[in-house]
């Protein structure tokens, strides 16, 4: 693909829009809360994109990607603290690169062990390595700081042009700068022969071997490079929060990045970005409303795995093709018809979950009562449970009916698309990885 083909007018316009949003977003939402949210989104975007280099591009399902993120963060903070008393000063602007170098180095070490196999075995081994590093964080308190982690101060000097990252806004632009640079680098990498070969290794390793490449070596290279970008993200998080704890290395962090990448969509480049934004906003915004958000998000994740393995980006790509063909009108009525029972089902489930939480936490809160919108509910009474139960049952029944008409309309749309020669663009998912 040439640069001209990649940068047609529409894409260029889209990229300019994104750049503009990144530039002015912190000015429009200048409250501290939004700024820290945007910073977190930037960090998680790099992390999710680096993860998708493995899962989406190479077909490697890693359960231990936090290792590179966390070690990058620890390395960055150690250098930052080391600089405090030393005569040599590295510019803070470039410190994330150091985190990246740490991620790369550990990618070289651990990748050698993990990439000997692909598929499910890789998943298991990456989990084992991840647990090993997480467990050793308590063995070496000198490096990992034990339970409390290690902290530092990112304002070390005057900095370049007086930018010493003393204010959150300066930190935001540092994160934005690295996020854009990393995203561009990861995209460029996917267009190189290595990126293409990684796709080939994902789809058919035997054939790659047949034409004279070593799939194991390609997997290794991808893990090392993904480790680099995860390390950059870790370094940025170290600078942003000025503290790293063992949680950065934990299975929780590894799990969150899987959720982000997969829910966003591993089949397209921007899918993980959508996931990173969504999960971060949920973590920060919804967590304040209900403690049950991981449960809802887990359910949502299962739904995506079962019914839309292309993730949100996959759904968007499918509908864009329909929209361009002007067939969205065919789908809309069926969707509207399905939306009502889906909403019933969802609100029924939410009401039940919230009541259960109220019931469990009742002794601490002093009451089992709660109010959802205008509906007063009490987790301790049978009457409150019957209504949501009925909603769930009825919703399920009606949804299964409505879904049939949605499927019918999709069949018609697909037939129309095929007749016009524009095949339905299905999201690429590494189907068989064994």
């Amino acid at each position: 693909m040439t640069a001209i083909a990649l940068l047609d007018r529409r894409r260029l316009l889209g990229l300019l829009m994104v750049a503009l949003v990144i530039l002015i977003a912190p000015l429009a939402l200048s409250k501290g809360f939004f700024l820290s949210l945007l910073c977190r989104i930037g960090i998680m975007t790099i992390f999710a994109l680096s993860y998708n280099m493995l899962l989406g591009q190479t077909g490697l399902l890693s359960f231990g990607h936090a290792v590179y993120f966390g070690l990058g963060a620890f390395a960055t903070l150690h250098v930052l603290n080391g600089m405090a008393g030393a005569s040599v000063h590295l510019p803070v602007t470039l410190l994330p690169l150091l985190g990246g170098a740490a991620g790369l180095l550990f990618g070289v070490v651990f990748g050698y062990v993990t990439t000997r196999r692909a598929g499910t075995t890789f998943a298991m081994i990456s989990l084992g390595i991840g647990e090993m590093v997480a467990a050793s964080s308590l063995m070496f308190p000198a490096f990992f700081g034990g339970e409390g982690g290690i902290s530092g101060n990112r304002v070390t000097g005057k900095g370049w042009f007086g930018i010493n990252y003393g204010t959150p806004l300066q930190m935001y632009y540092l994160i934005a700068f690295w996020a854009v640079l990393c995203a561009a680098a990861i995209f460029a990498l996917s267009q190189t022969p290595l990126g293409r070969l990684a796709n080939a290794v994902r789809d058919n390793p035997e054939r790659v071997q047949f034409i004279g490449y070593n799939p194991q070596w390609i997997r290794y290279l991808m893990v090392v490079l993904a480790g680099f970008f995860a390390g950059v993200a870790g370094g940025l998080s170290g600078l942003q929060y000025e503290i790293v704890t063992a949680e950065a290395l934990s299975d929780y962090t590894s799990g969150i990045v899987i959720l982000m990448a997969f829910v966003g969509g591993i089949g397209s480049f921007y899918g993980p970005v959508i996931g990173a934004v969504l999960v971060t906003v949920l973590q920060v915004a919804v967590a304040g409303v209900t403690p049950a958000w991981p449960l809802y998000f887990g359910l949502f994740f299962l739904l995506i795995v079962l019914y839309a393995p292309g993730g949100i980006a996959g759904i968007l790509v499918e509908h864009r093709a329909v929209w361009r063909a002007g067939l969205l009108r065919t789908l809309a009525p069926a969707y509207l018809l399905a939306a009502l029972p889906a909403a019933m089902l969802a609100s029924g489930i939410i009401a039940m979950v919230e009541m259960a939480y109220a019931l469990v936490n009742g002794p601490q809160r002093g009451t089992t009562q709660l109010q959802i919108l205008f509906l007063p509910l009490d987790g301790a009474t049978v009457a409150s449970w019957t209504f949501p139960l009925a909603m769930v049952g009825l919703g399920l029944f009606l949804l299964s009916r409505a879904w049939r008409s949605v499927a019918q309309q999709w069949q018609r749309v697909n037939a129309a698309l095929q007749a016009r020669g524009t095949l339905r663009a299905s999201a690429a998912v590494p189907s068989e990885v064994r």
Partner: protein, 343 residues
């Protein structure tokens, strides 16, 4: 013991921990005492690990599904048993809880995994990963985040025997009995019965078994439910011996994966050997409070005690031992101890 293994923190198993300081140097019979008790504790723990890993490895070799949520069934078993034993006692719970967990497992296979299977093994793995995530949340929703009061039944409290000064509780003996009983019946089921024969055939030639008129998908559901029930049983007898809390699945899950890799993917015998060796090895390491520094002192070498690595004792090393073992196995013997094929 199970809980501190994955996390690397927390207190060690009381019997071994009590032994650790006065090790060898203690009473005249201290060495024998330590070795014997550690061996018993290690074997108990190893058998429990096998109860978990046998189901996982059976499911894997049969369906190619790596069940990430396998340890969640262990957790469910413990919580179900806790709930049932509160109402009708421990003995019914011992039978009912694994059955319930098995039913849950079979339903998950039938209505979830089979759907995810259309999209390949990665989707299956992600589905079970989502389940493990969800199960923790669900358990917290129903039973809360704190440790629940799931206790050893009164009839099994007390001491089985005493060696020198260390006691061996009755319940540990009971755990061994259940594990060995499970092991023998699993062996008998797989080799001596008709259904076992079909399961074995479906392991290697599912298409042929299907062609002979057997309902292979149903066998898969059965095996999945059976594996879940075994994990549930491990939870019933392990949950009260150790601790029943929402974190228990995450603590034991990775170790079970390690056992399966070390033993050789799909090999029951390998999983058995790996479970026992990891169980015994780890229990011994928890008891040995020695470091490289002590070794140097023993050999008469003077070593500067500045390096934290040199001061690291075997006890501290115990939590990561299984993972180091896995890495070594992968480098030097990729097919595991008894695996038939390269993993």
């Amino acid at each position: 013991m199970l809980t501190e293994v994955g996390r690397g923190g927390g207190a060690a198993d009381p019997p071994t921990c009590a032994l650790a300081p006065g090790l060898l140097a203690a009473a005249p019979g201290g060495g024998v005492e330590f070795v014997f008790i550690s061996l018993l504790n290690g074997v108990t723990y190893g058998l429990l690990l096998f109860m978990l890993s046998s189901g996982l490895t059976l499911i894997f070799s049969m369906m190619g599904i790596l069940n990430f949520a396998h340890a969640s069934f262990y957790m469910l078993g413990a919580y179900f048993a806790h709930q049932i034993s509160r109402h009708i006692g421990f003995w019914p719970a011992l039978f009912l809880a694994p059955l319930l967990v098995g039913a849950v497992g079979a339903a998950i296979e039938r209505y979830g995994i089979r759907k995810a299977h259309r999209f390949g093994h990665v989707a299956e793995l992600l589905f079970t990963f989502g389940l493990s995530f969800l199960s923790v949340e669900a358990v917290q929703l129903i039973w809360g985040k704190a440790v629940v009061d799931y206790r050893v039944p009164r009839s099994l409290e007390g001491t089985l025997f005493t060696i020198y000064s260390t006691t061996f509780p009755v319940y540990k003996g009971f755990m061994m009995l259940v594990s060995v009983g499970m092991l023998l019946s699993l062996y008998a089921l797989l080799t001596r019965t008709r259904i076992g024969l079909i399961i074995q055939a479906a392991l290697s030639r599912p298409d042929m078994v299907q062609a002979l008129g057997h309902d292979v998908p149903r066998i898969f559901t059965l095996v999945f439910g059976g594996g879940a029930a075994l994990a549930g049983l491990a939870g019933v007898i392990g949950g009260n011996a150790f601790v029943t809390e929402p974190n228990m699945a995450a603590a034991v899950g990775p170790i079970v994966f390690v056992v399966v890799v070390v033993g050789g993917l799909g090999s029951l015998a390998g999983a058995f050997v790996a479970s026992l060796s990891i169980g015994v090895l780890q229990t011994f390491m928890v008891g040995f409070d020695y470091s490289i520094l002590d070794l140097a002192r023993f050999l008469g070498v003077k070593l500067q005690a500045t390096s934290s690595l040199a001061r690291l004792s075997l006890t501290q090393f115990a939590p990561i031992m299984p993972y180091v073992l896995m890495v070594l196995i992968l480098i030097f013997r990729p097919r595991g101890i008894m695996g038939a094929r390269e993993t």
